[in-house]
Symmetry: C2
Subunit: 215 residues, 2 copies
DNA sequence: GTCTATAGGCGGATAGAC
DNA sequence: GTCTATCCGCCTATAGAC
């Protein structure tokens, strides 16, 4: 019953060391820019072990990307399906997503760039999550928005367009902060992070302003 | 006075054929993913000619990226510096930028991804444009917003934050449309382009709603 | 499971003929 | 200016010793 023999534990450690190193290198350099030698060096193991555990660079890459996307969903988008007040939910999503990816914009950039090249192989890889988790959870959000509209709590809006507004306002300044910050001559920014953290209030106002009846 | 000898014309043609091919391939595959062989094949010329005209792959790439960024500015961001009414300007920017890059999202994606890796070499390449064109033009926009606030025409907002709102709402759904469209179970979209074109009105409303006094 | 050694291909760049 | 031929390094993947 106990399969945690020392040999098995060692395997897991090496396998995971490779995975974590691959994750780091792929995020920094992208699929094309990363080499298996880079990853092996980062993991402190021999290059051949990558193929032993993961068969090919592409397979390792897909596993890393899959993990990143699932984590992005868990840490951030899952909030949208929780049974809480719509306004509170939007505030929570904006604040939490900003907090999560502000200090780790490269991971977000990696996910968005690599998935923008989606082919059938990648789509298949996410088929399960899309059908059984991502899309059903979003549907809960769409339904909640429709209910609030019917109750007259908020102005009539297109739920998908609302979602797009929220995602856009939160994500783009994070993913492309390196460029965008150079366009800010309006004020001297000592810390871009601090600026974007404070901006969450602006984003929430912008969103809620188009929803609230008395705005 | 006439320096358009046939030999000079031929040179320009080949040089430009390479440039246009490089542009196409870099945009499709990115810097790392593109090979000089790809580019030569696309241009219908010999691989060695790339080095004859452009010295190295990196140099060719930087010239392509530079052209793309300048064109992005000319076609889209320059609007922000024109002497027109603020509300009309925002409408024009949203509609024109959407129209320009909806049918060419890969170019936008290319610019944003490659510049997100900015190092000192890239920054130097844009030093001139940043100092003498991009930033001064943006300053005109910031000033216009401030003037409208002082006149009481619009509610007090942070001009840079307003710019970020506009950019984010317009660009992210275009650059990452391939993924985002998969999250839309709310409505059956026959044509993503049509959807995003119609959405410009939503975006304009969202922006103007936070500006107008009577909203 | 982990290593060394190496296969085999593709990358960018260049020399030299025409 | 344009081509062919080639150098040389780096890449991924694998065979085989331990």
């Amino acid at each position: 019953m106990d399969d945690s023999g020392s040999s098995s534990l060692d395997n897991l450690q090496t396998e995971e060391k490779i995975f974590l190193a691959a994750r780091k290198v792929f995020i920094q350099k992208g699929f094309e820019g990363a080499s298996t030698a880079d990853i092996a060096k980062e993991a402190g193991v021999n290059k051949a072990l990558l193929n032993y555990y993961y068969r090919s660079k592409e397979n390792l890459f897909l596993k890393v990307l899959h993990k990143c996307v699932v984590e992005l969903w868990e840490k951030s988008f899952s909030i949208l399906a929780q049974p809480i007040d719509l306004f509170e939910k939007i505030k929570l999503f904006v604040n939490q997503t900003t907090e999560t990816y502000l200090s780790d914009y490269q991971t977000l950039n990696f996910i968005l760039y690599e998935t923008s090249k989606w082919d059938n192989k990648m789509i298949d890889m996410f088929k399960d999550e899309l059908e059984n988790k991502f899309l059903p959870e979003l549907d809960l959000f769409y339904k909640q928005v429709e209910e609030e509209i019917q109750k007259g709590t908020i102005k009539p809006v297109d739920p998908f367009s609302l979602l797009l507004d929220i995602i856009s306002l939160v994500l783009l300044p994070i993913t492309h902060g390196q460029i965008i910050i150079r366009l800010n001559t309006y004020q001297n920014i000592t810390d871009h992070y601090t600026f974007l953290r404070n901006r969450t209030n602006n984003i929430i106002n912008t969103i809620l302003c188009q929803l609230k009846q008395d705005c």
